[in-house]
Every structure is written in C-alpha cells, then in structure tokens.
C-alpha cells in the first residue's frame, strides 16, 4: 500500500523547481487564454471575413477588404478624430486634476477620511451612472449647469447638442470621473517618498516650489507613467460616458471609435467589419502602450 503522501511525493516531489513553477502557472495561463487570448484570436480571425448576419448567417473570407473599407469610411475617421481629441484633452486634464487631488490628500490633515472619501467616490461610481448624472446636469432645460448660468446672468446653452459644447461637456465629465483614479495611483506614489528628503531639502533652504519640482516630481515619475498608460488606454476605449450623454449626437458629432464598433457589431450585426474596427482600436492601444513602455525602460536605464 502506498500512502497518499507518497504518491504525492512521487508525482510532484521529483519535479524540478522550474517544472513545478510551470504546473502551478498552468491554471492561470489557461484562464487567461480563455478570457483574453481566445477572444483576441477570434477577433483577428473574424476581421478577415465578410460576416454580416443581416445578409445571411454565412461568413466568407475577404482578406483585408474590411480594413480597406475602414480606411475609406468617413465615419471611421470621424470617430477616430473624436476619440483622439478626447484622449488629448482628458488624459492631461485628468493628470493635472489628479495630481492636485493627490497632493491635497497627502497633506497632513488631522481627519483624513473626508478627503479620501471624496477621492474614492467618483472612482467607485460606474461609468454609465456618471454619464447619466452629467446628462441631467447638462440638460438644456432642467440641468443644474444652465440653471447656475442663468442665475449668474449668463445665457442658457444647448450643452448636449452643439458639437463643440457637447465635446467639452463630455471631456469635463470624463476628467471628473477619471482624475480620482489618477489621484489614487499618485497618492500611493507620494507616500513612498521618504520624509527625510523633504527635511533635507528644507534644511538646504529649498522653497516649496523647488521641493515639489526637484524632489516630488522626479520621484513620482514612475507612478505618473503608470497612471498615464492606464488612462490613455481607457481614454481610447471611451464609450460609456458619451453613449449615456449624447448617444454620439448630434448626428455623429461625438461618436467615439468604441461606440462605432458597438453599433456596427451589435446593432447592424456586421461582425466582420466590426471586428476590423475593433482590431484597429486594439492596434492603436498596443502602439501607445509600447511607446510608453519604451519610455519607462529608457527612464530606468
């Protein structure tokens, strides 16, 4: 009779450390493969097919035709333009506001929880709730923004259906929502900076501005980079907030790439073309991440 422990030893005990590591990683690898790798591979595969359910249930291979069609599609370029503008405005915006919030939260308040709660709340709200709440804020007839404007003697604006105003209303909402995420990461970064450095700087007679510029900012760079990577990628995928606030309107004036992917695949059932659009979005995210990562490595060396 072999005891269970012996059997265990025979199967796992003889393994080298490397082999053991392999077997321990298999479940995580499989899980990742199923939920991340498989869909991506399927997406690439589908993007090479003419596959639109409203024309029939069959898919036919059409090579790069979907990609070529995307490059000819004015609505794709419009969505890409809107998405890029949102990235250009909301990423730096969220970084600046987030940095301010993090510095504020890092101050030695006696009671810390109100500031921290204020930091966490926007982050904890689901995106689409934020979109719906701000849709009400910006409503031209019932919204609090126009009410304030009118009380201050200004003129009521059509926030959600003038293209420029709608763009800024959306950006403002995204910055409000995402700066707390940036602030949380930066706050964690701030707390790793040793107090001694500030004390030494103070002894050397550095002004508060110099302390921030020479001590805080350089030591915070890794945290800023992490925040920037995450924020940029999620900004390229912007969907919920404009979807809830304007549905891409007026016309297609505020439609983002992710919204166009959804309409194409889920509403129009054009999975082939939708996959190609999603692949283009994926490629853009990859390129941005690679640029950031190269910069991080460069900074490390």
């Amino acid at each position: 009779m072999t005891r269970p422990q012996d059997r265990y030893r025979r199967s796992f005990g003889d393994l080298s450390e490397r082999a053991l590591a392999f077997w321990l990683l298999v479940p995580a690898g499989l899980l990742l493969g199923f939920i991340a790798l498989y869909p991506v591979i399927r997406l690439v595969y589908t993007s090479f097919f003419q596959y639109q359910l409203t024309l029939g249930p069959d898919a036919t291979f059409n090579g790069l035709e979907n990609y070529a069609a995307a490059l000819r599609d004015a609505r794709f370029w419009n969505a890409l333009k809107n998405t890029s503008l949102i990235v250009l405005v909301t990423v730096p915006g969220a970084l600046l506001v987030g940095l301010g919030l993090a510095l504020l939260a890092n101050l030695p308040f006696r009671v810390k929880w109100p500031v921290r709660l204020g930091l966490l709340l926007p982050w904890a709200l689901p995106l689409v709730f934020v979109g719906l709440i701000f849709q009400w804020f910006f409503d031209s007839q019932y919204g609090v923004v126009n009410d304030l404007l009118a009380r201050l003697g200004g003129e009521r604006q059509f926030w959600l259906f003038k293209p420029d105003l709608a763009f800024w209303a959306i950006c403002w909402t995204i910055i409000w929502k995402t700066s707390s995420f940036v602030a949380l990461i930066l706050l964690a970064g701030l707390q790793t900076i040793p107090k001694e450095l500030y004390e030494a700087a103070e002894v050397d007679g550095a002004s508060p501005f110099q302390r921030f510029w020479r001590v805080t900012l350089p030591l915070l760079t890794p945290a800023i980079l992490v925040a920037l990577i995450f924020r940029t990628i999620t900004a390229f995928q912007t969907f919920d907030i404009p979807y809830a606030m304007t549905k891409g309107g007026p016309g297609n004036a505020t439609e983002t790439l992710a919204m166009y992917v959804r309409v194409t695949s889920i509403e129009n059932l054009n999975f082939g073309y939708g996959s190609a659009l999603a692949m283009l979005l994926f490629l853009i995210s990859m390129v941005i991440t690679m640029i950031y990562l190269r910069y991080v490595r460069g900074a490390d060396e």
Partner: protein, 420 residues
C-alpha cells in the same frame, strides 16, 4: 436506515420520471411588457397542457436593450430560449440571420392563409418575409396625436386633421395662455427609434414612402428635405416647439405632457394609460386622441408599432414552442393583454368587444388609426436604415446640418444600404 434509503431512491426515481414527461419551455419578454400579465396567460396554458412548464425570462426595458442581449444569445446559437417577443422592426432581420424557425412547416398553405386573415392586415404582412411566415402577432401599437381637450374647447377648436391646422391651433392657444411652461407640438428628436417615426411621418402624410412593395428605394431627396424642414420649422418658424427638440425622447414628452406642458404630442399607445391612471398626472380626463394629421392633399398616417412571437431556430422543443406561440398569439391571449395591460389587440373584432371597451373606452376610436398605420421600411438591414434617418433628423434639429445637406446624406446613406 435501510428503509429510508429505499424510500428516497423511490422518490428520486419517481421525480425523474415526472421530469422526463414534462417539457420545460422558456420565453423572453421585455421588462416594459408587463411580465406578470404574461405569467397569468401562461398559467392558463399550463393548466390546459399538463406536463408543460413555461418560464418567463425578462429582458431590458427598451427594444434596443432587449435586442442587444438577444443578439449575443442568438449569435452564439444558445438553445436556452424557445420563443421570443420581438419588435415589429425585427422579423426581416431574424429571417435574414436565420434566427427564427419558419412557421410554415407547421401550417399548410390553406390554414396559414386562414390564420393570417384573422389578424389586422398590417401585422400579417409585417411577419411574412420573402413568403415565409417568421412570427405571429401578439399586440398592436401605433402613434397617435394626443391633444388637450380642455384647451381646445376653451378656444372653440376642433381636433386638427391637417398639420397646418395643428400649427395654427397651437399658436392660438400659446398666444392666449401666455404660459411659459406650455409648449405646442411635441415630437421625438433625440437619437432613438421614435425619431425614425418622426422622420417618416411627414413623408407618409404627404403621400410618399421610403420603399415600395418590391423593396425598391423610392424616397426622393425632396421628400426627405421637406420632412426635415417641417420639424425644424415647428421650432424656428412657427415657434410651436421649444428650441431643444434634439434632446427630447418619447418618454420625456410623455412626462411633460402629463405635467400639462404640451398642447399636442405625437406618442405611442402606452401614453394614454399613464395620462389617465398615473397618480401624478395633471391631465386626467383632459386628453383626447385622434389620428395624426395629414398634409393638404396627403393622407393621415401613423407609425406602426407592435410585438410578435417568434420561435428560436436554436430551440430544442420547436414543436411544443409552436403550440405555445399559437396560444400566445390567439384572440384569447390578445383579450387578456387588452384588458390587463391596455395593449391594442391585433384582432379587429376585439376593438368592439364589450369587456375590452369597458377597460379602454378609447379603443373604439383606435381601430381606424391602427388600420391606417404604415410600417417602417421592412429590410434585413433595418438598424442601418434607422440609423441614417434618426441621425439626420437629430442633426437638423440640433442645427448642425441644414435640411439640404442632411437630405442628401439620407439618400446616399439609403442607396448604399438598398443598393441602387
């Protein structure tokens, strides 16, 4: 101990035997479609068909939300749902994607013709795609012109039959009332399905249409431009609608009319019950319903809505599902829906049924409106057709595009879908 073992084994065996005999079906309805009333109808069905159990799965509150979920279920060929209640704009799409089991295999040609004859013609027509019967009608819906009886009486006006009359009446009443919170003519203008109907109403009312019976695109740029211009003029020229119509969803208009803030509203049938029965309604007994106005020399036309039962092609119990769908689309079920949910019946005879009229006196006048309602373009790529039309009207109402430019885009967008 031993006895208990044998006893439980026997119970287990018995229960599997029962389970084998019984069929479990699952149907899908939307959250706004009164699932509790469907449950009541299904209880009747289960009592008459021992061995059949029917579960109700409840989905999102709008047609779009329901279809988003159903798309993932059906595109992955999930067999868990047997029958689905679908919007009238969907049968063509379901037929093209082969999501629906065709009902013709259960119905010989003669009995199919006999069955379809009983329904309102628009509904039997909407559910036959390329000669195939895709779904069976459950309840009807249409757009009506709701008006403030009290205000029209105060100014000695009769309900309008043409749009010119409606505009003049709204102007008269607005000028007389001098109430900053009162508006003239309410219609849908945001990016939603209702705005597709808004776009189509003036086209129909002047005698045009988007496609003909053979499915050929017949809409002209001029007709599209006139429609867009018409709604824009209500705001800017005639001043009977406020300048923010690009924001207005159907239910926003309904809520505002319920607060007494509109003289006229173009809304679907559901609004009536809310006006009469909602606790916060300021307009109880003050609302009248008439057919939508026409243009001089045109015709009165309403936008046809309504819901149908289709059988999922991935169901594993199609024969049982067919039997169930026949019951769910029967006059008996239609009558329960009319009385308990105020859903318009799909059988003309039920509009004269005393029980139905007792619950909904206004149904007596609704039949001609439903009969004259026109269906939105029947096309497998309908979602794309709808997107072109609602985006155009929304952009015009937001004044980011002129009716000229938007009309050109409508025609080129539709040509790309229909193929020239």
């Amino acid at each position: 101990m031993k006895k208990l073992f044998w006893l439980s084994l026997a119970v287990l065996a018995a229960s599997t035997a029962v389970a084998q005999q019984s069929t479990k079906l699952r149907i899908f309805v939307g959250g706004q479609q009164r699932p509790e009333i469907w449950r009541k109808i299904l209880d009747v069905y289960e009592k008459r068909n021992p061995g059949v159990r029917v579960e109700v799965e409840v989905g999102g509150a709008t047609s779009d939300q329901q279809q988003q979920y159903l798309t993932t279920v059906l595109a992955s060929r999930d067999p868990s749902i047997d029958a689905i209640l679908i919007d009238i704009i969907r049968p063509a799409q379901y037929a093209a994607a082969k999501w629906s089991d065709t009902l013709d295999k259960y119905l010989p040609a003669a009995s199919r013709a006999n069955l379809l004859k009983q329904y309102l013609p628009a509904y039997s027509k909407a559910n036959v795609i390329n000669g195939q019967l895709v779904a069976l009608p459950s309840f009807a819906d249409a757009q009506f012109l709701y008006y403030r009886k009290d205000l029209l009486e105060k100014y000695n006006l009769k309900p309008p039959t043409t749009w010119d009359e409606a505009i003049k009446q709204a102007q008269t009443i607005l000028a007389g009332e001098r109430n900053a919170n009162l508006n003239g003519i309410g219609f849908m203008g945001n990016i939603s399905e209702g705005t597709v109907c808004s776009f189509l109403l003036p086209i129909w009312a002047s005698g045009g249409d988007v496609d003909d019976d053979s499915g050929k695109l017949v809409l002209t740029e001029g007709q599209a431009r006139n429609s867009l211009q018409f709604w824009l003029d209500l705001m800017d020229k005639h001043k009977v609608s406020p300048p923010n119509m690009a924001e207005k969803a159907q239910d926003t208009i309904r809520q505002e009319m319920q607060q007494g803030r509109w003289v006229f509203g173009t809304l679907f049938a559901y609004a009536w019950n809310r006006f009469q029965n909602d606790a916060d309604s300021q307009v109880k007994g003050k609302i009248g319903v008439v057919p939508l106005p026409r243009f001089e020399g045109g015709r009165s036309a309403s936008c046809l809505g309504g819901w149908q039962w289709t059988i999922s092609d991935f169901s594993r119990n199609k024969a049982q599902a067919y039997k169930l769908v026949r019951y769910l689309s029967s006059p008996e079920a239609s009558k329960i829906l009319a009385i308990d949910a105020s859903n318009l019946p799909v059988f003309p005879s039920l509009y004269k049924d005393p029980d139905v009229l007792k619950a909904n006196p206004w149904f007596a006048d609704a039949l001609p409106i439903v009969q004259n309602a026109r269906s939105r373009p029947v096309h497998p790529r309908y979602p794309e057709v709808a997107d072109v039309m609602r985006k155009a009207l929304n952009a015009v109402l937001a004044r980011t595009k002129t009716p000229d430019v938007a009309a050109k885009e409508v025609i080129s967008g539709l040509q790309a879908i229909y193929g020239k």
